[in-house]
Each structure stands twice: as C-alpha cells, then as structure tokens.
Symmetry: C2
C-alpha cells in the first residue's frame, strides 16, 4: 500500500458506526513516547534524529499490530501530500514543517498512525469510529507493549513517561473524542457546557485541533491531565463527562424537535438543498451544511443518507483531497467549483 | 364571479407568454379620467364621491368589454381582501385607505381593472403578459370609448384630459412594462441603464410601484410625460427604449453564460435548492430566489419549470394570498412556514 491508496478508502474512524455514533464522530487515543538517552526532538542533533527514525522503523517492522502498514518519510512527499495527510488527521501541523527525518507510519484503514520526530520522538494515535475509548486504549496499549520490546522508552518510576512538554509527562496519553453538537449550538447551550467541562480538566478544540474553530459544530474534547492518574482512570473520567455531554445534546435535539421543528427542518433541508445544488462552494460553507445534513441523517429526517457518506465528505471536500482526486494543483476558485461538483455527485444532486 | 374566485385563477398578465416574455414580464396601460363638473376625489364632497361611484357603476354595466366583470366596493371587504387585491396589482395603496365610496371593477382574468374614486375619479388599467403595449392600448382605448358614451370626461381642447395631479394631464396615460433584469443586476450595469433611461423621460420603480425596491430584479418602467404627445407617440417612444433595455439584458445574459457560467449556475440552482427545501422563508427571500429560478427557466438551465409557474409564485407567496388560501389570518412566522410549504408543493420539493 502507498499514500496513493489512501484516497480510495474510508478511514476506520469515519465509518459512522460504533457506540453513540450519532453524537460521537470518533474516539482517539494518543501516546507520547521518547527514546531513552536521546535528546527530545527540538533539541536533537541531526544524527540523533536519524537514529530515532532508524530505530523506530525497525521497531515498526517487527510489530505484529503494524503488519501491512506503510511508512512515509515526510521528506519524500510533496507539499500537497503533506496537506493531504494533515486533512486525514494522520499527521499534525508540526509534522509537515521542517520534514527532514520526520516520518509517519500508517496502519491498515488508518486505525493507527505513528508520527516520528514530531514534538516527541514517537506520537502514536489510535482512531476509532464512535465512542470507543476503551477499545482504542486496548489497541494503543498493545502497540505500546510491542514497540517497547525494542525501543527503550524514557520512563521515570516517579514521573512516568518523560515527554518534551511537561503537560504530557506521566501517562503521555491524550484521550479525545470528536463530538457533533449541533443542537447544543443551535439552542445556545454549548458555551455553558464547554465552560463546565473545562473546569473538570477537559480541553475543548475544533475539528483540526489546537487553535481551530468548532466548524461544523464539531468539538474535540480531551483530557488535560496526564500526571497522577492511570490511563484507565483518565479514560474513565473523560468517559463519564462525555456521557453527560451526550445526554445534553440528546435533550437539546429532543427539545428542538418538540419546540422548534420547522426551524430544525428548515436548517437541515436547506443545507441539503444547497449542497445538492451549488456549483461553487467553499470548504467552510460545506462543513457548515454537512453538519446539518449529518444531524438530519441522525434524526431520521433525511433517511436516505448514511452517516458514513456525510463523514467522508467532511474529509474529501478538503483542499488537498480535491487536488489529489483531480491529480493536479487547483486554485481556490477551481477548488470551490470542484468541491461543489463532488458534493453534487456524492449526494445525488442536479 | 366574486373576489373568492380570483385566488384560483391565473391573471392574464402572469401567463408568461407574449413577445419577449423572457425579459418583459408584463405590459400595462393606465388611463386617468375624471367626470366633468365634479370636484377631483381629494376635494370632492361625500355626495360628489357617491355620484361618481353611481354613474361609474352604470357605465361599467353598459360596457361590452366589461361584460362578466365584477365590481367590488372597498367598504364591503376585509382588510385582508384589500391587501389581496393590492398584491394582485388590481388596486393601489391609495385605494385601500379611506375605503368609503371607493370601488374597483375587475374584468375576466383580471385583464382590465378600474379603480373608482382613487386620485382621479377613474383609473383604468389594462394588463398584458409580455411586451404588448400596443395591444394594451387598443383595449384601453376601446374601454375609454365605451365609457365616454355615458360618462362626460373632463377634457380641455388645449390641455387634453384634466387630472387631479398635473403630471397626468394630457393623455392621462401611463404606459409601463415590468422588466426582469437579473443579468444587468448581476453584471452591475443596471444603474447605468436606469440613469440613461431616466434622462429619456422614463420613470423606474420596483414591483409594487412608487417608493418600492426593485426586489426580485423586477423593474417597472413607465413614461414620465403625458403632455404634448399623442398616446401612440408615447407608446412608440417607450417601446423603442424598452427594446434597447431588452438588448442590454440579452447581452448581459450571454456574457454571463460565456464568462461566468459557474457563478450563474450556482445562483440559479442554489435558488431552486433553497425554494424546494426551505421550511421557513420570508417574502423577500422568496422573490429573490424566484427571480433566479425564472432566469434559469428562461435560459433553459431549468427546463422543467415554466415561466407561468414562477410568475404565479411571485404573487401567490405574498402575505394576503397565503392567508386567503388558508382561510384565516396568520402571524408573520406562520406565514413564513406556510409560504415555504406552498413553494415546496408547487416546485415539487421534499
């Protein structure tokens, strides 16, 4: 498999299935690990960076769970492909600048990806569809065990895993879920919810992580704390909070259907009407409407659309994906036309 | 026939046929007439107003061309019905305030309507579909001849027909056409065109006459001058100007298709997408989108829609029409829901 094949496949986390998949788009476990006796990435010499990469590659090749995965050296791929991996949530923004000695391993259906020489030597993530942090943790833990056979991770009996940034020290684990909260946004309750969970040690971000807006009513919620609690404790804590948010969103949806049905239907059907008919559309407008169509699918208002189709469109309509599909670089206005065409085709528009 | 029946029929002028019907929605000839030896409406005593009304009714009853017409006393109908007649362009705003002794005669398919005791004693109008001022004038002239047999019109050999406002004195005729100029608006040429024709003695107004906006890209163009030229001269003058505007709009449409096809298609299809899918929609938004759908029908982009259907929706979606259809008074938000439902039904939406 190569990067070429990714375009044609649906990422595991976009399947639109799994527990509470109507509200929880995806779950993600991320582990930060560093090799003992080598400087953290930001301080590492080129020789050290090369060593991290070489030893990681060997460890990946020996891992059972990574069998069939591909390894992409960031230096070997075009800027467009870098952007493409970013849009698929396989690499971070930091991973695509200064690409030397940076790499990413990607497993079958993109369930696991491991960035090498990002902020930490290794950043492993496991992505699952729906509300499935336990399952994600099980896989991440298995991967971690396999890799630690050949890679001596920097670990302190008192502090736990050592990381480049102290906010990750301890478990090195970030458990996060991508929540689709359109009803809480529409009923203007979302800010209150965010404030409450922030006080409970949670961090809330947009679709593309730190510093991004909650476009498309998508909110990424993750644990702040990595120190002083075990991974299962962290996951248990975040799960309890997420279950509460799910309850709030469910109530808000019921409330909208009961008290403001026309407004809800208006937003859902108009969004579909625009997506099925536009000939020019920006990425931002697309995400906004897709959120409403996803809500419509979830509420059974638009029964003909599957959650998977809508989830995929969130990713496929991003700039690099459009250009990869077309096989060439496109200007912004060309992309807006191409995006509209793709959406019309996928949703059966005019 | 009564006012009840009007709702179910398509007004003659909305048929969407006739010369240049893709750009000229309708043509209208209006004649202002006053009865000799009776004060103009604004100065008339109640006795005089009653006399105007009584004598007019007798004249209408004797007219061949008005055979089968109905006469509605403004005092006898509800505010909703008054608004309904206004929306159908059968009465003016002035005719629905202070309704005493005011009336309107309406002929078959609303081709002719005559307001009694408006600014002038009689205001006759003939409405035609498409660019048909000559035909309108032929009918208006026949009507005028018939009425003048029994009604002595105030006429001065030097000044011509005398009217309450000197701007109508002379022929008392206002010839106007309703133009649909979306391409001139989109290509930002319309202001230049309006300025030019204003200098040529034309008046430009919106869909509902003086002081209204050109909503839905609809512009009403009429002659300013009623003095010093015959009716055929006035019509010839306005016809020549309208033909030029038609040419400009045709060029602008060709230009858009050639140079900005995606933008044009985007506006047309999005408009249809919204109209077919909205559950709540205001009158203003409706007119805006209908304009685009009409353009789409005219350009063959939306071949499944006839111009008549779209023309009708311009009128049927107005507030009083919605309430007449529903048989009861509706709040604004109820109307916005009702309007959306009607449009979805008419356009075959979800």
């Amino acid at each position: 498999m190569s990067i070429r094949n990714l375009l044609g496949q649906t990422s595991e986390w976009l399947r639109g299935t799994g527990p509470n998949a109507d509200i929880v788009m995806s779950s993600r476990i991320r582990l930060a690990r560093n090799l003992d006796a080598l400087a953290f990435s930001h301080w590492a010499s080129k020789r050290q960076e090369r060593e991290v990469l070489t030893r990681s590659e060997a460890a990946f090749a020996a891992s059972k769970i990574l069998k069939g995965s591909i390894l992409i050296h960031m230096n070997d791929i075009s800027d467009l492909d870098k952007q493409f991996l970013l849009e698929r949530h396989l690499v971070s923004r930091e991973q695509i600048v200064r690409p030397e000695f940076k790499a990413v391993a990607i497993s079958d259906r993109e369930m696991i990806s491991i960035m090498v020489n990002e902020e930490d030597h290794l950043r492993s993530q496991v992505m699952q569809s729906g509300f499935a942090l336990q399952e994600g943790w099980r896989i991440a833990n298995q991967l971690d065990n396999e890799l630690s056979v050949t890679l001596p991770f920097a670990f302190d009996p008192h502090w736990g895993y050592l990381t480049a940034c102290p906010t990750n020290t301890g478990t090195g684990m970030r458990a996060s879920v991508m929540l689709h909260l359109p009803a809480l946004v529409m009923t203007k309750q979302v800010n209150r919810v965010i404030q409450a969970i922030t006080k409970l040690g949670m961090v809330v971000r947009g679709l593309y992580g730190e510093g991004t807006d909650a476009e498309g009513n998508l909110f990424q919620v993750s644990n702040q704390i990595t120190l002083g609690q075990s991974e299962p404790e962290t996951i248990d804590h975040i799960e309890r909070i997420i279950r509460q948010i799910i309850g709030h969103e469910e109530n808000a949806r019921k409330q909208l259907i009961k008290q403001n049905r026309e407004l809800l239907y208006d937003k859902i059907w108009r969004a579909l009407g625009v997506l099925k008919n536009a000939y020019i559309i920006t990425s931002k407008e697309t995400i906004h409407h897709l959120s409403m169509v996803r809500l419509g699918a979830d509420l059974g208002v638009l029964p003909e659309f599957g959650r998977k189709d809508v989830n995929e469109l969130f990713i496929l309509t991003q700039p690099a994906h459009l250009q990869r599909m077309d096989g060439k670089l496109l200007s912004q206005s060309e992309r807006d036309i191409k995006r509209a065409l793709l959406i019309r085709q996928k949703l059966g528009g005019n």
